[in-house]
């Protein structure tokens, strides 16, 4: 760990002023870890935890007929505990509850969670070559121990897995990210936030350096309650996904009208499986249809020496998530109307 300047921003304007050259820290559960490991060495840290004093919306959960708005500084545990989210967006509540540990979720902010960085072991130890950490140095994972690594969205430069859970839930809920910058506020679909590694794995998002995530915005949907997140990992709790699947289904008389599917633990970015979604449309939701969708989801998978199991595993996880979501019952009308929570 190297010396760095630490200060607190008291307003969004102040944070934005510092942002281009500084690194923003909220919960710090990922950044501080990586600073200690020498993976990143920011010269200037700006703590934005105080911003919710000035701009209350940053720390607030709002749920109404238009949908859900999560301030970027809302902690994962707060969103996980919200009864309206549990009732109307179960995939989101599940993805939060299955992430990390409760202690970490109590610290970690939603904005930071979306941008958490890969846990690739070769990225996390600064002395290995890594195109993401040190552009052009090579990728030690390609021919190394790559059991944890991605099979979708990979390139010859990087196969690091996107580690998060919530992003997959946001994808199937058609959520957007609210970005605030010197040019004002803009909304970007979650699906457009992360970049696949390609030849530039060090460019991880489409965010501009002077922009701040201020909220996650989830639209209301009549079928968002029929959603599920299934996560499989090496132990029962407190581990990153080997494979996970978020699904949301619009069913009409047992047939799929629309489906949203996103995969975690198997891809370099939060992975929307559009081919799998298309494969389900018009079909009755049964094991056979789910399996066809699962095959489609992994049609483009590229495996390495130790991660080939992620294809059958990811498929089984998706089948499970689809069948479980299909079996969900609608929540009682009162909670479907939602509540506004301060």
């Amino acid at each position: 760990m190297q010396p760095f300047l630490f200060d607190r921003a008291d307003s969004v304007t102040e944070a934005l002023r510092a942002a281009p050259d500084a690194t923003v820290v909220a919960g710090g559960t990922n950044l501080v870890d990586y600073m200690r490991l020498g993976v990143v060495s920011p010269k200037h840290l700006v703590d934005i935890n105080g911003l919710s004093q000035e701009t209350a919306a940053l720390g607030r959960i709002t749920l109404d007929h238009q949908g859900l708005r999560l301030g970027a500084l809302v902690r994962m545990a707060e969103a996980e505990d919200h009864p309206g989210i549990r009732a109307r967006y179960p995939v989101l509540a599940d993805s939060l509850a299955l992430a990390a540990s409760r202690q970490i979720r109590t610290m970690a902010s939603l904005g930071g969670n979306l941008l958490q960085r890969t846990r690739c072991e070769y990225f996390r130890e600064a002395s290995w070559p890594c195109n993401k950490r040190r552009p052009g140095s090579g990728c030690a994972a390609l021919d190394g121990l790559n059991r944890q690594h991605a099979v979708l969205g990979t390139s010859d430069a990087c196969i690091a897995t996107y580690p998060g859970d919530m992003a997959q839930a946001l994808l199937v809920l058609d959520a957007q990210v609210e970005l605030t910058g010197p040019r004002g506020v803009r909304l970007v679909p979650v699906a457009k936030v992360h970049r696949q590694p390609g030849t530039t794995p060090y460019l991880e998002t489409t965010l501009a350096p002077d922009e701040l995530i201020t909220a996650l915005v989830v639209p209301a949907s009549p079928w968002s309650w029929r959603s599920r997140y299934v996560k499989v990992r090496d132990r029962r709790s407190y581990a990153f996904a080997l494979a996970s699947a978020a699904v949301a289904l619009d069913l009409e008389s047992g047939r799929v009208k629309q489906a949203r599917i996103a995969l975690g633990g198997v891809a370099t970015v939060p992975w929307r499986a559009e081919a799998a979604e298309a494969a389900l449309v018009g079909k009755p939701l049964d094991e056979g249809a789910a399996r066809v969708a699962a095959d489609a989801a992994f049609a483009g998978a590229r495996t390495r020496a130790h991660n080939a199991f992620k294809v059958p595993l990811g498929q089984e996880v998706l089948v499970q998530a689809l069948l479980q979501a299909g079996a969900l019952q609608p929540p009682p009308p009162t909670s479907r109307n939602g509540v506004t929570h301060a």
Binding site: P3, S127, G144, L145
Partner: protein
């Protein structure tokens, strides 16, 4: 059985009042950070400390140049973790080798400077392990005094060829790290040529002797203090080269210096459990009797040191095999030297054997419990020596009943995949736990004061097992006091010499010495009570109870009256205990750093503790996720001094076994021989959610032969066999044999696909 007394230091620990070595407050303390290598094999070409030395607050960058001539290399195998003092070396022997120690006014400055030490290397291609080229293979027999020869009996080849039912299978166990909660650390302080080291240690007597050699000092001027230890599991048994190096750094800066390793540094600068590969061949008759058994093991070790565990020493004697063949070979690679980790020989080797027992039982169509019964023995098939006591089948019967093994028999013992609960396949399995009963020399001082309080002093180690509590109980019972009236001091080389906290010797050795010292005090009180006291009472009828000395049925006196009679306020006795068959001067040898462990298969009779473990697993039919909802273990380990701490040891052991079975593995990059998972994010151990029902049954057993306390150590018993029981249950659930640990879902999915 003793009383289930709660740990006397439990409250201190859970309220944060226990002072661990790195908590020791010292005036003018400087902080040290290690710099470690990023290659596994080669030479240091250059080591530039200019930028590091320029960081404000840096006091010293201790490198090879600076250390030259001041550190004698350790001796491996006598309490030293390796024969290499890295600060004397130009050569890189393994990944993460200590290259320098930076000392600064603050931890932050030391860390910053450590990052700025610039090292360049001449690289060589390293060998990572079993499946990489360039390894050297040497015989295990004779490589260490711990493993003089491969046990053998009869003509294996002939018996194997003739056997109607045969098995030939290979098993693999993974490299594992202990990961005690407490990080490794050394704090060194000099005072007028005398050195005090505060460091979590399982062997303060041995470390003092080691330090004396490495620093060329008189041991009398060295004190090693390790009052509380935050988990050890063997990792704090042998002293690592860092200890002497930090002591030297403190000498050079003329201030106390503390070096706390990072979690990652613990993976490469301390020891670990090395991976093994085992081939087992077994031949049996249709009657279920084993006629031939061969156990071959390959164990990984480092280039400079021949560390050998040789679990065949135990597996060769476990059943009535007929002909026995064993062979252990060491595979030397560019890795740090492995070391003791909770039941070092038994954990890997019994995994292999017990998996093979399950497979053979299936070939014979026998209930795996009955297969063990058919081959149970009260004598060593290799030497013919008898076991002092062996309650293996009683353990099986009690555990089987409590577990409900009948369910599996009712379903058809070898019908796999037959028990199902929705998406979950259910399986039941069992295996044997075994650990040698060992005991070591130990000295103890006990002081009883007229107010009815006692102090027990011995340089043994409370590594979390409860030995401090058990020592207090032993003294309390012998002196007729309550446990609260006994204070126990341990973990300080200035105290009477205590045994290494290894080989599960502590309770037996410490209690034997404490009993002896208490006996000395009792004798003095007896003499006091019988001087001019009318008709003589026999020593046998003399008892100490509730602060009273009871001469016989009619006469008793308060302790205070006897002290008055003796004209003193305190009585003290120092006693030395040495196991039967020890060489003369065993306690003096202990002071020189020789632990003198006896027992197991070494003596004229076999001394072992046994257990039987049963587990239920659930395997997800789609994803291959493996859960263990229930474990039941029954153990017979002689006299149980404290059923509460004993249960805790066995329960913790079974959870360890669960971790070894499903989670734990140190991953070594095969190209660079570097450890890839070096913290608790990537090195998984079970969390609470992974541990469901665990039941421990203590099977009564009396064995007066093993040691005066009648105790069989059980700290390392519970984790032996667990992983084989889980493998057996996974097979029962799925029909798929996993022969390598850890057993992760990808291995099941791979089997499903082929």
């Amino acid at each position: 059985m003793g009383a289930p007394v709660a740990r006397i230091d439990g409250r201190l620990k859970v309220t944060g009042q226990a002072r661990y070595p790195a908590d020791t407050p010292l005036h003018n303390l400087a902080h040290a950070v290690m710099v470690t290598s990023t290659i596994a094999r080669g030479r240091i070409r250059s080591l530039d400390t200019t930028a590091a030395a320029a960081v404000p607050g840096v006091l010293l960058v201790l490198t090879r140049d600076r250390a030259q001539g001041q550190l004698t290399a350790p001796k491996f195998g006598t309490g030293g973790s390796t024969s290499i003092q890295p600060l004397n070396e130009e050569r890189i022997w393994h990944d993460g080798q200590m290259l320098a120690i930076v000392v600064a006014e603050t931890q932050e400055a030391a860390q910053e400077a450590a990052d700025l030490v610039a090292v360049t290397y001449d690289h060589d291609t390293p060998s990572a392990g079993f499946d990489t080229s360039g390894v050297e293979i040497v015989a295990g027999a004779g490589a260490s005094p711990m493993y003089p020869e491969d046990p053998k009996a009869g003509d294996f080849d002939t018996a194997f060829k003739a056997a109607p039912v045969v098995l030939d299978a290979t098993y693999n166990t993974a490299a594992q790290h202990h990961n005690p909660m407490e990080l490794f650390s050394t704090t060194a302080e000099w005072n007028n040529g005398r050195l005090t080291v505060y460091e979590p240690s399982q062997f303060v007597a041995g470390w003092r002797a080691q330090l004396a050699k490495q620093l060329d000092m008189d041991a009398a001027n060295i004190r090693v203090v390790s009052e509380y230890i935050g988990g050890a599991f063997g990792s704090k048994g042998p002293m690592t080269p860092r200890t002497a190096a930090v002591a030297l750094a403190a000498k050079l800066v003329q201030r106390p210096v503390r070096c706390v390793c990072t979690r990652a540094q613990g993976y490469t600068t301390a020891t670990f459990r090395a991976e093994t590969r085992q081939r087992i061949r077994m031949g049996a008759g249709r009657d279920g009797k084993i006629r031939a058994f061969s156990h071959e093991g390959w164990e990984l070790t480092s280039r400079p040191d021949d560390y050998v565990v040789g679990g065949t020493e135990t597996t060769a004697r476990l059943y009535a095999y007929g002909a026995v063949h064993t062979k252990v070979q060491l595979v030397k690679a560019d890795r740090n030297t492995p070391g003791y980790m909770r039941s070092p020989p038994e954990t890997p080797y019994v995994f292999g054997l017990e998996c093979a027992m399950d497979e053979m039982a299936e070939k014979l169509g026998l209930d795996p419990v009955e297969f063990r019964r058919v081959n149970d023995t009260q004598a060593d098939p290799v030497s013919g020596k008898r076991y002092t006591s062996r309650s293996l089948m009683r353990c099986y019967d009690e555990a089987a009943a409590a577990f409900g093994w009948q369910r599996r028999l009712d379903a058809g013992v070898w019908k796999t995949g037959a028990m199902r609960d929705g998406d979950w396949l259910v399986g039941l399995g069992c295996a044997t736990a075994v650990y040698p009963t060992q005991v070591a020399p130990c000295a103890a001082r006990v002081r009883l004061t007229a107010d009815g309080k006692a102090l027990v002093q011995t340089a043994a180690h409370e590594i979390g097992t409860g030995v401090r509590t058990v020592a207090a109980q032993t003294a309390a019972q012998a002196l007729g006091l309550s446990v609260e009236d006994v204070t126990v001091e341990m973990g300080d080389s200035a105290l009477p010499a205590g045994p290494v906290a290894g080989g599960s010797v502590s309770t037996a050795s410490v209690c034997s010495a404490v009993l002896k010292a208490c006996g000395g005090i009792r004798d003095k009180l007896y003499r006091a009570a019988t001087i001019n006291s009318g008709p003589p009472a026999t020593p046998e009828s003399f008892t100490l109870r509730d602060g009273m000395a009871v001469l016989d049925s009619g006469r008793s006196a308060p302790l205070s009256a006897l002290f008055q009679k003796l004209g003193t306020t305190q009585l003290e006795d120092y006693a030395e205990f040495a196991p039967e068959g020890s060489a003369p001067g065993a306690v003096e040898q202990l002071r020189q750093g020789n632990p003198g462990i006896m027992g197991g298969a070494k003596g004229p009779v076999l001394m072992y503790a046994f257990g039987a473990e049963f587990v239920e697993v659930r395997v997800h039919a789609r994803t291959g996720e493996i859960r263990v909802p229930r474990m039941v273990g029954a153990f017979a380990a002689g006299r149980i001094m404290n059923p509460r701490t004993a249960r805790s040891q066995l329960l913790g052991g079974m959870i360890w076994g669960l971790g070894a079975a499903l989670h734990e593995m140190t991953e070594i990059d095969p190209r660079r021989a570097r450890t890839v998972n070096r913290d608790l994010q990537d090195y998984l151990v079970p969390v609470n959610a992974d541990v469901e029902g665990v039941e421990v049954i203590l099977v009564p057993e009396t064995d007066t032969e093993v040691n005066p306390a009648g105790v069989k150590g059980l700290g390392e018993l519970g984790n032996v066999g667990t992983s084989s029981a889980i493998a057996s249950a996974i097979y029962h659930a799925t029909g798929r044999r996993l022969r390598d640990i850890p057993m992760r879902l990808d291995k099941l999915l791979q089997l499903q696909q082929t």
